[in-house]
């Protein structure tokens, strides 16, 4: 399915897609910075604050940007000659984005648990600290950067569907 978009709509969607995708990467970098502070800071208030703020960051920044990037990217591909399944770079980028979004959505549960622990003064700092957010952000970053590289370089290769 390929429809032709009028140029201004195509440019608007491209702008929205680039903004949300790059914004997602930036938000993951910020999340990684927070997570690093969470495992390294010696100040109890800072450590608890970091894990508390991760939850709204995940729900109000990461998840919306991820979903918008995915949805806009799909609409964009269907409205241009690239298509969604015609070129390997589009297909691989789609798989990467779906995977990253799915892991992010599942991970919000963990972030919520960590925030609950941080909010409870009865829980010791050792139980509040957790390397999991740092690990997940560190894994997400190269994935998102790879997706950006694919979008910029658009390496050749047409799928069987696209021939």
């Amino acid at each position: 399915m390929t429809a032709t978009m009028v140029p201004w709509v195509r440019r608007l969607l491209l702008t929205a897609h680039v903004t949300t995708a790059v914004g997602w990467t930036g938000a993951v970098l910020c999340f990684l910075a927070l997570a690093t502070v969470g495992v390294s800071s010696q100040d109890p208030g800072t450590v608890r604050g970091v894990y508390l703020v991760m939850e709204p960051v995940a729900w109000y920044v990461l998840v919306p940007l991820a979903l918008m990037s995915l949805v806009i990217g799909v609409i964009q591909s269907l409205g241009t000659t690239w298509g969604l399944f015609r070129h390997y770079w589009v297909l691989i980028k789609l798989v990467m984005t779906v995977l990253a979004t799915a892991v992010l959505l599942m991970y919000t549960k963990t972030v919520g648990v960590l925030a609950d622990l941080a909010a409870d003064p009865g829980v010791g700092l050792g139980a509040v600290r957790n390397p999991s957010p740092m690990l997940h952000a560190a894994l997400a970053l190269p994935l998102l950067l790879a997706a950006t590289v694919l979008a910029v370089y658009k390496p050749r290769g047409v799928t069987g569907y696209g021939r």
Partner: protein, 57 residues
């Protein structure tokens, strides 16, 4: 794009190999951790333990 030769392009093959290796490493690390992949593996002591589910983490 019409001049693309049939079959998987080299960059796709390289990407597939790297992805497979990374997935194998991640699975190995998860298995080495006892398979308990979630916040509960770190925080199952204390009074919050009853409220902690095994989400992805």
């Amino acid at each position: 794009m019409a001049d693309t030769p049939p079959g998987l392009p080299t960059w796709v093959k390289v990407t597939a190999i790297i992805t497979a290796l990374l997935v194998a490493v991640v699975v190995a690390v998860m298995l080495a951790g006892g398979g308990a992949h979630g916040p509960g593996q770190h925080v199952m002591s204390g009074r919050l333990a009853g409220n902690i589910g095994y989400g992805h983490g």
